[in-house]
């Protein structure tokens, strides 16, 4: 160790270098902690995100906003409202009120999971929750159809109302299928689009069928 005796760092030479790691992006969220903002702002931000996605569903353009920032608030709200509106729609309403809600809930979520697994197994590039998000949001036209059906049924339940309901439900079913296909089919290899579209078609068909055969007590 004799050679190291004359190695010394003089205190006059300053030590230079960068200690702090430069932060690349300065997004507004990281400038301040979101704990300090008022609750209204937090809720409004989430509501705006959900509302923007609703708009994307109603006018399906090929934008990736729905896919990039997925969230499951919208699907939950839609699923619960649809299940509530479909409740009590059979002969023995006091007996079937409970299972009706659970039925719709389970159908929507179980069906969405199955479709997602199917599209992943067929070689899709979309992630699990992104797919769930898209399928859930595309239930919006059918929820609107359910609302319209309920209003029409308030007016009367004859043949004319059935025809009106049929037209509305079929139109909304087509809209739902097209909207979800626009988002999901892009993630598949081009010659297998039909294989992914068919389960989506079946899924929305079952929901539309439940809406169409709904008769209030």
């Amino acid at each position: 160790f004799a050679g190291l005796a004359d190695v010394s760092i003089s205190e006059d030479i300053p030590v230079e270098g960068e200690i702090t790691v430069p932060v690349g992006s300065h997004s507004p969220d990281e400038d301040y902690s979101t704990l300090d903002e008022p609750v209204r702002e937090t809720i409004m931000r989430d509501l705006k995100a959900v509302g923007k996605k609703f708009v994307h569903v109603m006018y399906p353009k090929k934008s990736s906003a729905l896919l990039r920032d997925w969230d499951l608030w919208g699907p939950l709200v839609l699923c619960v409202s649809l299940a509530l509106m479909l409740q009590g729609g059979s002969a023995d309403s006091k007996e079937d009120g409970g299972p009706q809600f659970a039925e719709v809930f389970v159908i929507i979520w179980f069906g969405a999971v199955v479709i997602t697994l199917n599209s992943k197994l067929l070689g899709g590039t979309i992630s699990f929750f992104q797919s769930l998000c898209v399928l859930g949001y595309c239930v919006l036209p059918l929820t609107v159809a359910m609302l319209v059906c309920r209003l029409v049924l308030l007016a009367g339940s004859g043949t004319v109302s059935f025809i009106i309901r049929l037209i509305v439900v079929v139109a909304m079913f087509g809209w739902s299928t097209l909207a979800s296909t626009a988002f999901l089919a892009d993630s598949q290899p081009p010659n297998r689009k039909a294989l992914v579209v068919y389960p989506i078609f079946l899924f929305y068909f079952v929901i539309s069928w439940m809406i169409l055969t709904f008769t209030p007590q």
């Binding site: 007996e95 389970v106 199917n118 039909a194 389960p199 068909f205």
Partner: protein, 340 residues
């Protein structure tokens, strides 16, 4: 340890106190109780002896634990009873971490297992359509083993389609399921049939030495449900018994014949072929019959009662009792009015 030497009915029981005692035989039968402390024979031990043995084993365990604890505490200081509890706490936390890690890795490997199913979904739409049409055409060559595609996409979609059709049938027949949901029943029926009958026929195929794998059996039976789908789709909407029977024999029969032919081509021996194919044919046709009649529209039944006084029994099951009895009353009143 206590041991008993000698037999005889007179076994005077040894007193539990003390371990190193030799008791003289109490009666003249000749059973001597010998203290054999190091003998491991506990077959003749009395209840108290067992208790004593357990006590001794527990003490030994505690000694070992204490030694282990002491060995671990050699690094740290001796903390007494508190240290022992701390050790236990740390061991418990460690165990929980291990269990959690194991569960997480198991869950991850389950998720990754989806990739195991990936090759079975590797199909083109053209292939699916071709296989659907082929499932209705019975093959003629049964001396040469027919090729079965081990694919699961088509069968899975067919099962879901059957579920949707069944749901439609249940709704139009106003079936009321009390202890459950319509959807649950439909899914349970269809998936139960597909998976259960496939497994059963696979088991029979194993017994009858047929050359078929489980995936191939699932695929075969799944595509055989195409005939069921068509039949039920038509007959749930157009309700004529005769139409249903024509479809049952025609469409159902064709798809059953195809499955039977494929199985026959892969089995050797007449008895085996008969068992396997007879079972499959029976189950397949009976399932279609069941699906039709279980969710039959009651309007059909009322139409039938106008012709004859006795009502077919199946309709009664699927419907509410008061509505059925009202309908029967109405129709009998009408019939009586007509005859008068």
């Amino acid at each position: 340890r206590w041991g008993r030497a000698g037999g005889g009915g007179s076994g005077g029981r040894a007193e539990p106190s003390g371990r190193r005692r030799c008791l003289a035989p109490a009666q003249g039968g000749g059973s001597a109780v010998i203290d054999m402390e190091n003998m491991d024979d506990t077959s003749g031990s009395s209840f108290e002896d067992m208790g004593e043995m357990h006590q001794r084993m527990k003490e030994e365990e505690e000694e070992e634990e204490g030694e282990a604890g002491a060995a671990e505490e050699e690094d740290g200081e001796f903390l007494g009873m508190k240290g022992l509890r701390g050790q236990l706490g740390r061991q418990v936390a460690d165990q929980m971490w291990q269990v959690g890690k194991r569960q997480a890795s198991r869950a991850f490997s389950l998720y990754a297992n989806i990739d195991i199913l990936r090759p079975y979904f590797d199909v083109e739409p053209v292939q699916v359509r071709a296989r659907l049409l082929e499932s209705m055409i019975p093959v003629k060559m049964i001396n040469f083993p027919q090729k079965i595609a081990g694919e699961l996409y088509g069968p899975l979609m067919l099962v879901f389609t059957l579920v949707a059709i069944l749901l439609h049938g249940m709704k139009t027949s106003d079936t009321i399921i009390r202890e459950g949901t319509l959807m649950g029943t439909a899914i349970g029926t269809c998936f139960g049939y597909w998976l259960g009958v496939s497994s059963f026929i696979y088991f029979l195929a194993y017994l009858c030495n047929a050359q078929i794998t489980m995936v191939q059996m699932l695929s075969l039976l799944g595509y055989g449900l195409f005939g069921h789908c068509i039949t039920l789709f038509v007959t749930y909407n157009i309700h004529f018994h005769s139409l249903f029977y024509i479809f049952w024999l025609g469409v159902g029969g064709l798809s059953t014949l195809r499955m039977v032919a494929v199985l026959v081509s892969r089995t050797v021996g007449h008895t085996q072929r008969l068992i396997l194919c007879g079972t499959l044919a029976a189950l397949h046709m009976l399932f279609l019959l069941y699906l039709h009649f279980a969710y039959h529209k009651v309007v059909e039944g009322i139409l039938d009662t106008l012709e004859g006084p006795n009502m077919p029994p199946f309709q009664r099951v699927a419907r509410d009792i008061p509505v059925v009895s009202n309908a029967v009353l109405n129709t009998t009143a009408k019939a009586i009015a007509l005859t008068l």
